[in-house]
Symmetry: D2
Subunit: 321 residues, 4 copies
């Protein structure tokens, strides 16, 4: 059994990790580290776990764990690792932004298995991609891989309230968010950086614009993204490129059916649909922001790192309605 | 024009008062008093007012105002009035619980116009009823008026998230509340006190139990209540009693149609439906918790106090869908 | 008093018209014509009206009415007018698409008051704009008016479930729509036609692309739209252009505050925000699809046609939370 | 492997069964029978299954299947079994009401494992309990088992829109249900019959009233129920009775924590909380109406019938937010 630990246990991504790892047939959840509430039953915070686990938050780290997931606020992972030394064999999977930029001074591999599977398998340290970055990268990287991102990209995506974290704020108050809609950080969302790097790695000469408008939806989880750009080939050409790109993907599928977000909610899947209008290719992409966009993908990376089937523990029943 | 002031301007009930008073043909909204943000445009806080008003929060009181509405936290109205003296002509309408119990040492009239219209007209000080208390009192007081509340009452009601106020808390976080449901303060909700007093005033010998389970619904506004008790008469007898009780009511109607909450959302109405099952009378009651359950009823009281038509400024278009 | 009639009374737009006209101080709602349910109380269908009106659907037309609103399915207005002749003085306001294209063979004026006020005042027949068309036109026409729509436009907008009409379908079923999101009719929405015509009228040499992706949101009402395009001036230049364009507008306002949909829900307002990123101008536009996007704008047009203040009967309290 | 078939494949309960059985380690989903759409891919109807299965609806029955689940409308199971004969070894699990009343002329066992485990294990035919009946029975049967249901019961419960089935109706239209609340079938819900029978089996002398008001909530799935009645013992006495009743239960847990519906959504669990007020015992009970209230419990029964661990294939990750 793989001995796993989680650092920072109260947030959404930690909660989802706990839910997944408690059911993972090859994992023993060794500790959930919390300096603020050691000794408190995990099921008191993640209250759906009532009746399922007696696990308590721990104030102690097991530095010999096989794998450790960092669920800390952005900026805190780097700090935490500077202050805490794990054993040589301990693999680290970081869910923050801290090590996502390959250009930084570190040895973390960007954990997008669809494009990095072999590197992930060999990695000791994984920077788990951002949620928007995952939905969008899976929508556009097959084009970059074929050197076909020539024109500007126009991307619009909407995320659920879990995307904003557990902290209370005006825009996560129920009376504000209920039946509401708004955009934010237009053209300037931080995930544009990691998307840009991923594109450049596959298509080094890329120099067109990536325009991105993120939105806040009045639902709890999921990301729905549309992206379009000039594409001179036919729709069939495009489908061939995408199906080839994802022929080995465990969770990413290209379909001809119309998509709607709830097809993937509570699963680790990404569904993609391609359409052609005039000279434009439109790609629609949907994921669950907390699973394929965070904790599910983290476990997918763990599976690869430990030589397991990529889907182990991740064959999740959708919450379709 | 009636010069009106509001004390405490940031909450839901203050917001609704501002929206109503700005449109009230007989009122000039003189000031919205806020010690924390004097000078800030009201439309920056109540953002739907953008383009409608240049009003700013004021750090000064106009102690000569014709009417002042207190939108302070429970417990703070008493304190505020002890520290601030208004002119003799200034009428006070308090939306907190502070003066609702008639048994207290004060001269406030309980502002439920359906049962207190004449006293309200003469009053200088009004204790505006609580939201649950309004929905439930309107459901059961016609029976008390006829001395017919003999058996135990069984009441279940659900309120929207605005019922919990603007402060951020776990249960008002969107990700918690969305698609959720829960009960709280069963048998012990504070509004039971004012309901009990209202019953006793009409039926002094009342001594059966009033059982009440309040619930949190995953919607923003409105209260839906059901109440049942033994009733030996026929359904027609009951309808007669209720129609008689509300024959002069401006906003409270008895109907034979099935009810659902959105019939009254964003209005000052209360709709009631009666049904008889065996020896039990079931009364369903719906109101908007912020209007008939708070700010709308406050303005209704103001209208009565100033000799206006009760409905002035309160003929609001429902937000039916 | 203006004698008004409504043709086709069961849908959302008819419901909103009834709600508005019943409260309009200068209008007497003369009849709501329904061939399918004559004699049925209007409040049995629009159930929030219970206690407010005794009006019944009528199987008879009053062909001498001062104004008639057509709330028929797209395609049916033309047919209805061919079969039913009103008096010469009767003004017609059609809410369908049937007469929106100026290029058709008819005498209807496109009822977007912000750009057509003088023509609307003189008109006998009005084609009331579509909901998406209103939100988007108000976002982009100030640029067209100044001949500044040179680059491609990229528009993304989301509408509530009322946008799909009252008929039951998979995508309006609660269990499908709740917590869901999806796009549809990308690049091919029918409102692109009327938007294109409006642009051409103001900027005849316009020949860049208008790309539009519509989305279905999991809320009941409202449209949130973002539009961006190249703009060589400064942000202040843009603001000047928009403030000038809307200096006389009764319901359309330009603001520097962040926008979110509920600021306009249940009102006839349109709020616009401008931002500049690099060489791009981003315009965010929000309206209530049933009011400014349909019935509210229809009454606004009626007010202009009868020489009333544009806002009469339309100063509606928002349903902000 | 257990060869399983499903009769009637388009509804919610069939969809949940398919999702569960496709992942069940001991089951091979042999056929999903549909006379209306044979040959159509199952993933076109249950669209979250895209990428997971190539299964098609079948127009043929396998009469030698090990187990067959009937997901037909109420009244149709009896008819279907009269017209279709399965092999002697084929076990039948019926999700309709058709065989729930023990008093009927049939050999079906009522499949509430918490109180019928041994009989279920031996059964060839199971009548799977109703959703409200499950939530309520689990709340009150421990008292009946101890002969303690002496006073009247007062029950209020709310169900999600999936409780109304996939057919389109006014009350399942998004614009109606969104942010709405209503009660229906008060005192007369059909599940009162099976609840009454279950009580009588455990406490034959029971003759007090069971009052039940069901409600429609504006969420998709789950049931939240409160039930109270007179109870002369202490709270600790009550807890002891319930903990004893559920000491072997695989999915039903008694807790001291406050409950809210989302703790059980997308799981097969039932959580119960006990409180004492004066002489009254209040029991709160929450389940997922489609899982513990339908398809999950059906698979739980199947597990018992085939000698498997009760939890096989049912250890589902909650959709907690």
């Amino acid at each position: 059994m793989i001995e796993a630990g989680i650092i920072g246990g109260a947030g959404y991504t930690a909660g989802e990790l706990i839910r997944i790892l408690l059911r993972h047939p090859e994992v023993s959840l060794n500790f959930v580290y919390s300096t603020s509430q050691p000794g408190r039953p995990v099921a008191q915070v993640h209250q759906d776990l009532l009746g399922e686990t007696e696990l308590e938050f721990s104030g102690e780290l097991n530095k010999e764990a096989d794998v450790v997931f960092l669920c800390l606020g952005h900026g805190n992972s780097k700090k935490f690792l500077a202050e805490n030394q794990f054993s040589d064999k301990t693999k680290i999977i970081d869910l923050s932004t801290d090590f996502r930029m390959a250009s930084g001074d570190h040895s973390f591999v960007y954990g997008l298995p669809e494009f990095n599977r072999e590197k992930v398998k060999e990695a000791g340290f994984i920077a788990n991609p951002g949620c928007f970055a995952t939905a969008i990268s899976l929508a556009i990287l097959p084009l970059a891989k074929e050197n076909l991102l020539k024109d500007d990209l126009h991307i619009n995506a909407v995320t659920g309230a879990t995307g904003a974290g557990t902290s209370l704020s005006e825009t996560t108050h129920f009376t504000w968010r209920d039946n509401n809609f708004s955009s934010y950080k237009s053209f300037e969302h931080q995930h544009l950086n990691e998307i840009g790097e991923s594109v450049k790695k596959l298509q080094p000469d890329h120099d067109s614009e990536i325009n991105f408008i993120p939105n806040r939806g009045n639902f709890s989880r999921g990301i729905h993204a549309t992206a379009y750009t000039g594409f001179s080939g036919s729709l069939d050409d495009a489908k061939l490129i995408y199906k080839e790109a994802y022929k080995d993907a465990a969770f990413t599928f290209v379909t001809d059916e119309d998509l709607h977000l709830k097809q993937v909610v509570n699963t680790n899947k990404c569904l993609l649909k391609l359409q052609k209008f005039g000279n434009k290719l439109l790609i629609t992409s949907i994921i669950d922001n907390l699973l394929k966009g965070a904790s599910g993908q983290a476990v997918q990376n763990m599976n690869l790192m430990f030589g397991l089937n990529e889907k182990t523990g991740l064959d999740l029943k959708a919450n379709y309605f």
